[in-house]
């Protein structure tokens, strides 16, 4: 997995390179938007980690130019700006994800894993958490290595929760992921799916946060 890191702060870039190499990624580092665009044009990476505050040009402009050439290249934005507006602008400009500084390294790694799986190029497409693992290529869940039959909605629900392990997903977030617009949502549909998942994966794998939503604990 080839990652292009575009970050002008050297101590941060150095630290990130070390951390990501340890995870088995291959990292190229550039410090300017110009250099980034050059690399994208000559030897496009698999994922770009792009800092918005670059010395030579605005990060969002760099993002737009990348999008002009590579419509599907996953871009993860790093930024010190953190208002909701900034976030919306970033995602509207075509970023795949957005991480505000200062971030947790584990968070960055988790986001990278999600992007990787989206690319479908990753060798291991299995997410392991505790006794449960999920294979995203054949869409099968395993409980203590026993394959479990999942409905499409149950699979999507479990994938969302496991990809965001450690985070609580609110009911509305989960419902938005499960149902397309116009599709009718029964008031307890989510509970029913969770109930089925718990029967298959053990009752304490998915935790309820009362009044908020559900979560799967971090591995």
């Amino acid at each position: 997995m080839q990652i292009l890191l575009v970050e002008d702060d050297r101590p941060l870039a150095k630290g990130l390179q070390t951390a990501l190499r340890k995870q088995g990624y291959s990292i190229n580092h550039v410090e300017t938007g110009e250099a980034c665009l050059h690399v994208v044009a000559t030897e496009p990476p698999d994922i770009i980690i792009l800092d918005l505050g670059l010395p030579d040009m605005d990060g969002l402009k760099v993002l737009q130019k990348i999008r002009d050439r590579q419509a599907t290249l996953p871009v993860l934005l790093l930024t010190a700006r953190d208002t909701v507006d900034d976030k919306v602008t970033g995602l509207d400009s075509g970023a795949d994800d957005y991480l505000a500084k200062p971030f947790d390294m584990t968070e960055l790694l988790a986001r990278l894993r999600v992007l990787e799986r989206r690319l479908g190029t990753v060798k291991s497409t299995r997410i392991h958490i505790g006794d449960v693992s999920l294979d995203t290529t054949n869409q099968t869940a395993y409980f203590r290595d026993e394959p479990q039959e999942l409905s499409r909605k149950e699979y999507m629900l479990l994938k969302s929760l496991m990809e965001n392990a450690g985070k609580v997903l609110t009911r509305s977030t989960l419902e938005a992921r499960l149902y397309s617009w116009g599709e009718e949502v029964c008031s307890n549909a989510l509970e029913v799916h969770i109930h089925h998942l718990r029967k298959k994966l053990g009752s304490d794998f998915i935790k309820t946060v009362r009044g908020v939503g559900y979560k799967v604990a971090k591995p």
Binding site: A19, A80, P102, R210
Partner: protein, 438 residues
């Protein structure tokens, strides 16, 4: 506070009244002296007339007048008199004017000597009647001046009020300005005296505007400058973690230190962002319950780390507000509860309508706060030492100040009460209620 307008009106009126009064008085006295002269001339003519009348015809020729008395003497013998009771000389027989008292009145007298017939004529007029006559004439002349004062006062009042209108307009505009409104003040029909004032105010507004803009940019830059090195520190810590044995005391201290630094930077930035200049034009109608769900979802890990039960109760409830500020507020309330509640404790968030308000309540099962300290809790850099926070206070003392700031910006009331758990505190924010429809 004294009013310039009132001062001008009263001062002008006082001067006007004083001068009119003095003028009237002076006119009265001058006119009185003039009248005296006129009456004296009349008296002299009367005396001459009496002297020229043939003897024995006085009574028939002179109409009986109350205010006139006369005597005609010839060689110390009374030839005629206006009244039979006047037997004695009215006054000493010396030619000229004088005064005398008789018949119960004071009289103005004139002794006239007629050399041809060797007659002395004494004519007298009652002074009180003379005065009355003179006074009635003079009063009619002076009265309009005095009666005119109230009308003049009314006119002055109207003119001064009108003259002060531009100044009043200016002060009205300044009074109605919002704290964050830095647009120039516009006065139609500006008077030359106010031009400089208006110009200076607008220049000040402009300078303030640029200063605020600069500060905002500085903060954005500072945010970047501070957050990037902290990110670098955190990444290096992550790398270091794999190289040193787990449970290293120095390492966990280092990690906690970086965590605190990050927290302080974020809190300082939110404190800056929660100034009135920054908000209020971003206000939108939002669902506080949804917002609470999101914030709890993001912060749940902190509670799980301390095996605390965190739950949300309530229903959809709409308030006018800035989503970013309200998120910060809830984050601070939650980390406060998380910090001061012992492991295994409970935290409950409630969003519900109560009467005309939307109530946001964050309750914990921590040690609670003594009622005497309720006032202190929201103060800047305040960390209570008695009941809570001896071992666990890792914060910077800004969190609840920011909560109160943000509450104030939303015209919400922040207060503290005992929680409904066996122990602990409840932080209550009361928002004005907003209907969910437009």
């Amino acid at each position: 506070m004294s009013s310039m307008r009132l001062y001008l009106i009263t001062a002008t009126l006082a001067v006007l009244t004083l001068f009119n009064f003095v003028a009237a008085l002076q006119g009265y006295r001058a006119s009185l002296a003039e009248a005296e002269q006129l009456f004296d001339n009349q008296l002299r003519q009367t005396a001459e007339l009496i002297a020229n009348l043939p003897t024995g015809h006085f009574e028939s020729q002179l109409r009986q007048r109350d205010n006139l008395a006369y005597q005609v003497w010839h060689d110390h013998e009374l030839l005629a008199a206006s009244s039979s009771t006047l037997r004695d000389p009215i006054t000493e027989l010396l030619p000229g004017f004088g005064h005398a008292n008789f018949d119960g009145y004071r009289w103005r007298t004139l002794v006239y000597y007629d050399g041809q017939q060797d007659n002395w004529v004494v004519a007298a007029e009652r002074t009180d009647l003379r005065y009355m006559l003179a006074e009635s004439v003079i009063t009619q002349a002076v009265l309009p001046i005095l009666l005119g004062i109230p009308f003049a006062g009314l006119l002055i009042w109207l003119i001064v009020s009108h003259g002060f209108k531009p100044l009043r307009d200016l002060s009205e505009q300044l009074k109605n300005k919002q704290a964050n409104d830095l647009t120039p003040v516009e006065i139609p029909d500006l008077k030359s005296e106010l031009e400089q004032v208006n110009h200076s105010i607008n220049a000040l507004m402009r300078r303030l505007g640029t200063a605020l803009e600069r500060e905002k940019r500085f903060t954005a830059d500072a945010a970047h400058e501070l957050r990037t090195p902290i990110s670098a520190l955190k990444v290096q810590l992550h790398n270091l973690k794999e190289e040193i044995p787990p449970g290293n005391e120095s390492f966990s201290q280092l990690e906690a230190g970086v965590e605190r630094m990050q927290h302080l930077v974020e809190q300082l930035l939110s404190l800056y962002r929660s100034t009135p200049e920054e908000f209020s034009h971003h206000f939108t109608r939002l669902n506080l319950y949804r917002l609470a769900q999101d914030v709890i979802a993001n912060q749940h890990q902190d509670f799980e780390n301390k095996q605390q039960v965190l739950e949300l109760n309530g229903v959809d409830a709409y308030v006018e507000g800035d989503p970013f500020a309200l998120t910060t507020m809830l984050q601070n309330l939650l980390s406060n509860a998380n910090k001061y509640t012992p492991p295994g404790g409970s935290v409950r968030v409630t969003v519900e309508p109560t009467g005309n308000h939307i109530c946001l309540k964050v309750e914990d099962s921590g040690p609670g706060i003594a009622p005497t300290d309720y006032g202190k809790v929201f103060e800047r850099f305040q960390r209570l030492n008695d009941k809570r926070g001896t071992a666990v206070a890792e914060g910077c003392g800004l969190g609840l100040t920011i909560v109160r700031h943000i509450a104030d910006l939303h015209r919400a009331r922040a207060s503290i009460a005992p929680s409904s758990f066996a122990s602990g505190a409840a932080f209550i924010i009361l928002f004005e209620r907003v209907t969910p429809h437009d």
